[in-house]
């Protein structure tokens, strides 16, 4: 959707929120700001469970911006723009 950023939820997060995707109107936002808006959009808080005590991203949590892990950019300060796609995965494993 033009002028929006897609936030997609996977894994346990999707099950808990009962939401697969929300579209957030905005441009040039940090991931942190985007996720706060996504909390409002879904009407549920989830950000706290993605963060550790130091407000860093919890080990195992994966956030991708257009397929690229934000840990390789500026973590939660990574900026996203309209048209981007952000994917959130709660910690998971397998083999």
């Amino acid at each position: 959707m033009a002028g929006t950023i897609a936030v997609k939820f996977y894994g346990l997060l999707r099950r808990r929120l009962r939401t697969a995707v929300v579209e957030i109107a905005g441009d040039e936002l940090t991931i942190l700001a985007l996720l706060r808006l996504a909390e409002k959009e879904t009407g549920q808080s989830f950000l706290d469970e993605l963060l550790d005590r130091d407000q860093g991203l919890l080990t195992g949590t994966i956030i991708l911006v257009n397929g690229e892990n934000i840990r390789l950019r500026q973590d939660l300060q990574t900026r996203v723009k309209a048209g981007d796609s952000v994917a959130l995965f709660s910690p998971a494993g397998g083999g």
Partner: protein
Amino acid sequence: MTGWMGKIVKIDLGNRKQETVAVSDATRRQYLGGRGLGVKLYSDLCSSGTDPFADDNALIFMTGPLTGTVMTSGRYQVVSRSPLTGTICDSSSGGHFGAALKGAGIDGLIIEGRAATPVYLSVHDGEVEVRDASAFWGLDTQQTQKGIQAETSSKTSVACIGPAGENRIIFAAIMNDKDRAAGRGGMGAIMGGKNLKAIAAGGSRPVAISDPEGYKALTARLERIIDKNPVTGKSLQVLGTSVLVNIINAHGMFPTENFRRGVFNDAEGTSGEKIAETLLERQSACYKCPIGCGRTTRTRDKQGEGPEYETVWAFGAHLGISDLTAITEANYACNELGLDTITMGSTLGCAMELSETGAWKENLRWGEAGKLLDWVTDTAYRRGIGAELALGSKRLAAKYGRPELAMQVKGMEIPAYDPRGAQGMALSYATSNRGGCHMRAYMIAPEILGHPVFLDRFSTVGKAELVALFQDVSAVVDSAVLCRFLQFAVGISTFTEMLRTVTGLDFSDEELMKIGRRIYTLERQFNNRAGFGRGDDTLPPRFFNEEFQTGSSRHRQVLLEEMLDDYYAVRGWDRNGVPLPQTLADLGL
């Protein structure tokens, strides 16, 4: 020593002679059990030129010092020379069989020779009894397990082969406790070659613990750690291993149509999330396992276990199939027939590409879900094109003049992570001593999942050291013997503590890492003698000269050569991948 039962039985199925094999305390300390001690015993008994189907080839079932003790300790390892790869091979399975074998009073079983007619072994009270299995020959793995339980005890745990093993399909699995599989490397084919239909084990002999108080405190603490960990305490329980489908697909490295693309458009419909919403009846757990990653599922017409992540991929994206019911029922069929789902699916993908290119005149088409069940069944019985599929991908592709279309390393098919998306995983595949396997060093953990630390998946820096380290830790866990999923929650120090508490030996983290290195190097020595060297530590050419055009792993190639030299240096091997004399001396080899 506590922990071990102190008895390994060797039996010749040809003349039915049995003997107890003496293993010194020093050897047990050097190799632990399971994979490590199994490989040591195999190397002492058989040469690297042994034909896997020869009478004098040994097939070794091993437990470890932790089997039957702490959580997830029901596993066992099967060791022999693989008919699929020609390398040394250990194949691991969960369930209860490992604990049952040890409860029956033995640490392991070495099987040689070939029975004149079908037999099964019944292990109880430290004794091994050879029994007639004529009535079970030809039955599937579910019927066999039920039949042998009816003849022995409903509490007996049975590890058996199905028609695929009987027909010596070189990727036949050994199935136990209904649907748990020692899947990889064709250990089931070796059982079939020996006319050995099954092993039934039962007993309740306790494993002696050196420090019972410490053990109690340790297991209580472990329970809390496993429960609190988001992977072992939540994700694996609720969504199983197939939670990886969406994750790996989002990273553009979910192998699609024989690794020609890294994004499967229908991944969502075959994901762990979708399975939980549709087919899942309940989670299932192995012996003393608080995780319970197993999936008991039901389609409209059938019920069974699975699919796990690898199987969802092998019969799904790899073949361009998005019909979750077809994937699941192909999984059930493999369980019943006793086939490794990874090699089966990967071989079908290879066949489809051979067919598409015209190299093979058969008409196997991408996405053809309706024929999946027939292809699997025909493979187990070597019927029609099944006789060709039974070759596995390497031999099939070579037969039709396109060896590069087999997605394998050393003859074993690569699983569900495209190595162009994770350089460490690429090195892990290339240097795996049983071929294209993700379990020797699961680099997906740091490179994708961020466990225990997050690493740049496209960088080669430091990957050699980490692959070697992961390989060594994995060898320790496979020899202890515990479930590898514990590694999402605990590190080497916890394994050291477990071994100290159970055995009373003053193991250190450093000693365990050296044990892992010793096992890995011994396996390498075996493979070297069998003719494997640097030229075999590689990947199919596709990964070096074809790039994805879409997805987040696009425009990437595997940069193997620059990691391989580092890896050999870290390992103390020469440039050809042969361990240096000093390395062998340091490890006592």
